[in-house]
């Protein structure tokens, strides 16, 4: 089955007339994603790569059967774009931009939750269910259809993991970038139940990093509710305390909270299989199967 997106996903691209928006709209279409509409205020009536453009998400919804949206809009317009999509009734919103203000995401996160919308990102490469649909900008030739679900805070580390898996013949059901920001729209805990229920997924990989408590929260859920095996990698072993390490979310507070050792221990105690190096992922997965 895969989770979040599949052959039936009908996608709107918000910001489709921008450089990234138009480029990736065409790449997603080429991959097989049903890109049914684009939205850019003031550009309604145009066509980009054969995709009709509308002035608003409402217009796009009226004229198509869209059920998902991806935003290629700058950080300062991201909140408005997310809220517009949710308000128009979109069930899955993926937002790419890096550097969205925390207060904007704070509101968007809870507004999405209150409206039963799954919000992914910001600061994410998107989602891919290999062979079915891609909602994002990842380089799709790395991916292979299969039975491993992947969630990652870092885009580049998810490429590393997937590359290693695919090279050893291990395919993926759905790969999700949850994003590197302090307030991801959805976190591991929101997505783990979907993977647990998904008939295509047999194993889940979590690619975490220092900062925050999302891995710790996930560990508790895994211990109590997950029957499928989980493998995890946590980046940031050598990161000094108190420094923001590139991702707004990757900060380790003095005292070790959010630190790698703490996260590793808690995940391990929850029965998660830990790897120390990215290159160990495929071998670990093979040893479990």
């Amino acid at each position: 089955m895969s989770i979040l997106i599949n052959e039936d996903t009908k996608l709107i691209v918000q910001g489709i007339t921008g450089r990234e928006g138009s480029y990736h709209a065409s790449l997603m279409k080429k991959y097989g994603t049903k890109v049914v509409a684009g939205v850019t205020p003031g550009k309604g009536g145009h066509k980009i790569e054969g995709i009709p453009v509308f002035d608003s998400v409402y217009e796009a919804m009226k004229n198509t059967e869209a059920n998902a949206s991806i935003l290629f809009v700058p950080p300062r317009f991201t909140k408005d774009g997310i809220l517009e999509a949710i308000d128009a009734g979109i069930e899955l919103v993926v937002t790419i931009a890096e550097g969205v203000p925390v207060h904007d995401m704070l509101f968007a996160h809870y507004y999405a939750q209150a409206n039963n919308c799954i919000l992914i990102g910001p600061n994410t490469p998107g989602i891919i269910s290999p062979g079915k649909s891609k909602v994002g900008f990842m380089s799709d030739n790395l991916y292979k259809k299969g039975n491993v679900g992947v969630m990652s805070r870092s885009a580049t580390l998810s490429y590393e993991i997937v590359n290693n898996l695919s090279n050893k013949g291990i395919g993926q059901s759905t790969v999700i970038g949850i994003g590197g920001d302090s307030i991801p729209g959805s976190s591991y805990i929101d997505l783990l139940p979907l993977f647990e229920k998904d008939s295509q997924t047999d194993l889940i990989v979590i690619v975490g990093e220092i900062g925050g408590s999302d891995e710790e929260i996930a560990a508790k859920y895994i211990k109590e509710h997950m029957k499928k095996p989980v493998v995890a990698f946590i980046a940031g072993d050598a990161a000094p305390e108190g420094k923001v390490m590139g991702h707004a979310g990757a900060i380790i507070s003095p005292g070790g909270e959010g630190g790698v050792k703490n996260k590793r221990k808690i995940l391990q105690d929850a029965g998660v299989h830990m790897i120390e190096k990215l290159s160990e992922i495929a071998d670990m997965v093979l040893s479990i199967f």
């Binding site: 925390v102 509101f107 209150a114 900008f137 580049t156 580390l157 590359n163 408590s213 923001v244 590139g246």
Partner: protein
């Protein structure tokens, strides 16, 4: 981005939160002038962005006007935890009855805004939470509701149902919440919030940190001085449009993602190699951007090697390679360069680098081993 106390107090004043009479001075002479205008005993406070200035000699009470210049001069010369003060806040000394604590904070773990209040302030809130946790109240705010009266009413028992004081506190909480929201703060803190002899509540000290992602809409709050707390190379990086993190070591990591940079750092650490700095190119870097990045990191005198770790997605390896090839001549000879290219247009990238006699690996560990042996040889 942290603000200085004097900047925070200017904001408090605008929002009607009581502060002492006072002014910011850059020189001992200015400090004296301000002290003279205030009259009586004054407090001189070093303006730095790190805590613990009291213990480090950054705060002085001066009763005699003739002593102000000397005391101010001493404070200006005293570095606090390695940071030079940008000036002095000169304030009227105030008699106080009691010290309280109040802050509004973004709690990342809960993903919520929280009001933290304690009737016994003055010291570090972490210390209070250790020594007497029962004296701290946290009130979480539902983001979709925003601050409501019922949130603040939960503080009533902590002031022993003192109605008069509570109404003053309520006003301050509301003002503080407005500041927190309107200035994109991660934290706004008043510690201590002083209860004066005549029953007023006054913010004796204030801390604020602005969300870096919201800097573009908070420009009026941020002075060039606020950048002093960052390492020079981080500032050079920021001005060139990059996130640079200064660390201790000799290798510069240039990568196209924060996670990738972090795991490269981890791997180098396993080989006991220190990292001088990390530069994140982010997604979609052009050759020009790569050349600009190289120009930034070679300004860090600690750098003896540059490790490129690129896993192309939205980023194209050929574009990165073109940038590296273009900037190669500008890199001093004593700095070694190793590259790892993987992902989008990898082979094109490797070929471009071959053209300038640079070998690129596709495997990260091989690349790390390569720089380790090169540097150990050098």
């Amino acid at each position: 981005m942290k603000l200085y106390e004097y900047q925070v107090k200017e904001i408090f004043f605008k929002y009607g939160i009581g502060i002492q009479e006072g002014k910011f001075a850059k020189t001992p002479q200015e400090a004296k002038q301000i002290a003279e205008n205030i009259g009586g005993s004054v407090v001189l406070k070093s303006q730095v962005l790190v805590g613990g200035r009291g213990k480090a000699g950054g705060v002085k009470i001066v009763d005699d006007l003739s002593d102000v210049e000397k005391a101010a001069d001493e404070i200006l010369k005293t570095e606090i935890k390695g940071y030079k003060p940008v000036g002095i806040l000169v304030e009227k000394k105030m008699e106080i009855k009691k010290e309280l604590y109040l802050s509004i904070v973004f709690d990342r773990k809960m993903k919520k805004t929280v009001i933290i209040f304690s009737p016994s302030g003055g010291m570090d809130i972490e210390e209070i939470s250790k020594s007497s946790p029962e004296k701290i109240t946290k009130v979480y705010i539902n983001e979709l509701l925003g601050l409501q009266s019922f949130h603040i009413n939960r503080l009533l028992p902590l002031v022993n149902n003192d109605k008069e004081m509570f109404s003053k506190l309520k006003k301050i909480v509301k003002a503080l919440y407005s500041i927190y929201k309107k200035s994109d703060s991660m934290i706004v803190e008043i510690n201590p919030l002083a209860l004066t002899e005549n029953g007023d509540l006054v913010a004796l000290d204030g801390k604020m940190e602005i969300d870096n992602n919201a800097e573009y809409r908070q420009k009026s709050l941020i002075d060039t001085d606020n950048k002093n707390a960052e390492d020079p190379i981080e500032i050079i990086g920021k001005e060139a449009g990059f996130v640079v993190i200064k660390l201790k070591g000799n290798i510069s990591i240039i990568s196209n993602g924060a996670g990738l940079a972090l795991s490269t750092l981890d791997l180098l650490d396993k080989y006991n190699m220190g990292v001088a700095n990390i530069l994140d190119l982010s997604g979609g870097a052009t050759p020009e951007k790569v050349m600009r990045a190289i120009k930034v990191v070679i300004q860090d005198k600690d750098v003896k090697g540059i490790l490129f770790n690129i896993f192309g997605g939205i980023t194209r390896c050929d574009e990165i390679a073109r940038g590296i090839a273009g900037a190669l001549k500008s890199i001093p000879e004593d700095i070694s360069v190793v590259c790892r290219l993987q992902g989008t247009n990898r082979d094109e990238g490797i070929n471009i680098l071959k053209g300038v006699n640079l070998d690129a690996d596709t495997d990260l560990e091989e690349t790390v081993k390569n720089i380790v042996s090169t540097m150990n040889r050098g």
